[in-house]
């Protein structure tokens, strides 16, 4: 019997938009352990697969254009590749954009790590009437090259077989001839000068100056400095430029000989035609706003609320059914109350927003995968620069409307710390989808006639205060120029259903996990605290309960805002666990009256003025603990986290008190 083989570690590397994530999904299927966010692979996602008799674990790295990292996200990829951990680099190359994609390949092949190239989207190239000579690419680059279509799944088996063989043989890439004889000579000289085993990548870096010489012995340093003088440079082709220039020259020649036109192409340049409209001078911005409105309408308008209402009906019916069963079976009163009022009432109230969350994330994922998000970034750059950010910040800000946690994490795509901090500070003002249940509840109780207008005004207020806050910080503690903006505009593509499904499933899983753990715990805790009196007897009236006693201590803080009643204060506090808790807490706390409707109870508890002030507070105050821990991680400093929290709390209290006091005053006058 064969000895048990250890797991082979593959690192999946490649340019952004090369179909890397699609290939990853294809290889690992449902065995993935960490989720990602559309377009921005924030976490190191890992998965396992079996191929050619070997067990392999695959790590999906953030997309990079070169091994020189610019953003923290790219640094993750860079550091992992150089960590010595991967047994093989699986380099994904977009065949429709061969020259620039292979530039990274030329760098990766110099790391001395076994490597295989997946030539992705070869089918699209064929549609253009071209063929690519894989054997020639393989020979010239010194690594196996296998043509695949990640979206259709063809060639993946062959790719994995070649990759496993290469990894087992520990076959490092064969030396390729990227450089002129003079430069090649200098690189060899550098390798010798360093003495200790030195990868070609490091030698090149030392020679061109991207890697500091300071760690070397003085003798080696002098030798390398002398070697630099042997490289023929010109004013335009200086030392920084020459290595990149020769790589690209090599690739230009390689692509000319490896790509053959088999027939005159038909219908190319479709992206250009679409761009003329979607990013065009006249229609670009109107269409952009139309799309954004469309996303919000589908989520919060008729389609989303229809599905939500339907689910709500099911939950209520089940709740009544369960109540009846428990009553007739003679279950103890407290147990029935825990199951029906506590768990089902609380978690169920949140559960009905599932359809809206699915819709929102499906649409965000569609925008990203289709290539439109890059155009939105392109169009928004000018505006965002006015508030001290680059167009790239648009992605986290838009995601903020879904969930603050991935939005904050996605700020890693920003190159500069100042931009990241500023973005993290204002992302929470983009009202996250978890606040929606709260708005819906309050609005259906008090503003039923002006549903759309009220929702719109809350979202708009968040954006306006976000912009004003950005301007405030930009001109005080976060001064400086916005980061440069060099961004690829990938061709438009039809998103694959599998990617869409996996993206949405990931978000859904997070939500269900939250509902099953944090929210469940919070509702049970709230139920417990309102069911018992401080002396542990049954509180026949919630106002005698432990919760009421605690709430009454906090409530005075909110008197100026118009919602200084203990139930309101308690729901805001539980909102720190998760924003949906505000709703589930209210459901537990406000006794369902004769009509049995929570809306009726709320109508009595709020005036329109205090209700709107409450909405303002919910919009602005500190996001949930999960968001806070994400903010803490990305800010990398306790001071900045404290500043963020303090600013949000202060602004929320001030804005809602400001609104309530003025509204009251104006009502007295008129």
């Amino acid at each position: 019997m064969k000895k048990k083989e250890r797991t082979l570690k593959f690192a999946l590397a490649g340019n952004p938009n090369c179909g890397k994530t699609t290939l990853f999904n294809r290889i690992t299927g449902s065995s993935q352990s960490v989720g990602n966010w559309p377009g921005v692979t924030v976490e190191r996602k890992a998965g396992t697969a079996r191929a050619a008799g070997a067990l392999i674990s695959v790590v999906d790295l953030p997309g990079i254009y070169s091994l020189a990292p610019y953003s923290p996200e790219e640094k993750v990829a860079h550091d992992y590749l150089l960590s010595g951990e991967p047994d093989l680099i699986l380099d994904v190359v977009d065949a429709t954009n061969l020259e620039r994609n292979l530039y990274l390949t030329t760098q990766l092949s110099e790391l001395g790590i076994p490597m295989a190239v997946a030539l992705n989207m070869a089918d699209e190239v064929e549609k253009r009437g071209e063929t690519i000579d894989c054997a020639l690419l393989s020979r010239k680059l010194g690594v196996p090259v296998v043509s695949v279509s990640a979206s259709r799944g063809t060639g993946v088996g062959l790719l994995l077989k070649a990759a496993v063989e290469t990894a087992r043989e520990k076959a490092s890439p064969l030396p390729a001839r990227f450089y002129s004889p003079a430069l090649e000579q200098a690189i060899r000289g550098t390798e010798e000068a360093v003495r200790t085993p030195c990868t070609r990548w490091r030698a090149v870096g030392l020679l061109e100056g991207s890697e500091p010489l300071s760690g070397l012995a003085p003798q080696a340093r002098r030798k390398i400095e002398a070697l630099r003088k042997t490289i023929p440079v010109t004013e335009a082709l200086d030392l920084d430029m020459i290595v990149a220039d020769q790589r690209y020259r090599f690739l230009g020649a390689l692509c000319r000989s490896a790509v053959r036109k088999t027939r005159v192409s038909s219908g190319g340049g479709y992206s250009e035609k679409i761009d003329r409209v979607l990013a065009g001078r006249f229609l670009g911005l109107p269409l952009f706003f139309l799309f954004m409105l469309g996303v919000f309408w589908v989520t919060f308008g008729a389609p989303g609320s229809f599905l939500g209402d339907w689910l709500n009906g099911r939950v209520l019916a089940f709740s009544r059914f369960l109540d009846g069963v428990l009553r007739s079976s003679g279950t103890q009163d407290w147990a029935r109350s825990l199951a029906v009022d506590g768990i089902l009432g609380g978690v169920g109230a949140v559960f009905v927003f599932l359809p809206q969350i699915v819709l929102l994330f499906a649409m965000l994922s569609f925008l990203e995968d289709s290539g439109y998000m890059a155009r939105a970034v392109f169009m928004m750059d000018r505006l965002l620069r006015k508030i001290g950010l680059s167009g790239r910040a648009f992605v986290p800000l838009l995601m903020g409307f879904g969930c603050t946690v991935p939005a904050v994490m996605s700020t890693r795509i920003l190159e500069r710390e100042k931009d990241r901090r500023l973005t993290v500070l204002i992302v929470p003002f983009m009202s996250c989808s978890a606040k929606m249940p709260v708005y819906s509840l309050i609005i259906s109780a008090l503003f039923a006639g002006h549903r759309a207008l009220t929702v719109f005004s809350v979202y708009a207020l968040g954006i306006v205060l976000g912009v004003l806050s950005a301007l405030l910080f930009k001109n005080t503690i976060l001064q400086g120029e916005p980061a440069p903006f060099v961004m690829e505009l990938p061709p438009y593509r039809v998103p694959t259903f599998q990617n869409l499904r996996l993206h949405v499933w990931q978000r859904l899983k997070d939500f269900l996990q939250k509902a099953g753990t944090v929210l469940l715990f919070a509702t049970v805790a709230v139920w417990f605290l309102q069911y018992f009196t401080p002396s542990m007897g049954h509180a026949s009236d919630p106002s005698q309960s432990i919760l009421a006693a605690a709430g009454k201590r906090i409530a005075p803080v909110f008197t100026l805002c118009g919602f200084g009643e203990w139930r309101q204060a308690v729901s805001l506090v539980t909102g720190l666990v998760a924003k949906e808790s505000v709703v589930s807490t209210m459901r537990v706390l406000y006794p369902a009256g004769v009509s049995g409707s929570l809306a009726e109870a709320l109508k009595a508890a709020f005036t329109p003025d205090s209700a709107y002030a409450f909405l303002i507070f919910v919009l602005l105050y500190t996001p949930c603990v999960a968001a806070l821990s994400a903010i803490r991680r990305e800010m990398g400093s306790l001071k900045w986290t404290a500043l963020t929290v303090g600013y949000q709390m202060g602004l929320a209290w001030f804005a809602s008190a400001f609104f309530y006091q003025w509204a009251t005053l104006l009502r007295h006058i008129f």
Partner: protein, 78 residues
């Protein structure tokens, strides 16, 4: 020889030199803008900046301020 930012929309040129310094210059070079590379000026974003250029068979967007650092030789369209 003109700045890339001055290249009229729809016109092509050949990169002569990349100015600027540091990480930004490095990024521009890594994206394939090296001397001798053909570029075509596409369009400006609806608000006038950034601009979209075609290089090495793909579309890249850069700000006008960055395009100013890139010197090109204008090439007459056939």
């Amino acid at each position: 020889m003109i700045r890339l930012s001055e290249l009229p929309y729809g016109q092509s040129g050949v990169v002569v030199r990349i100015g600027g310094a540091g990480a930004l210059r490095r990024r521009i070079i890594d994206m394939g803008l090296t001397p001798g590379t053909a570029v075509r000026m596409g369009r400006a974003a609806p608000l006038g900046d950034p601009v979209q250029i075609a290089v090495r068979g793909y579309e890249l967007s850069i700000r006008k301020s960055e395009a100013r650092e890139i010197l090109v030789e204008e090439r007459k369209e056939r």
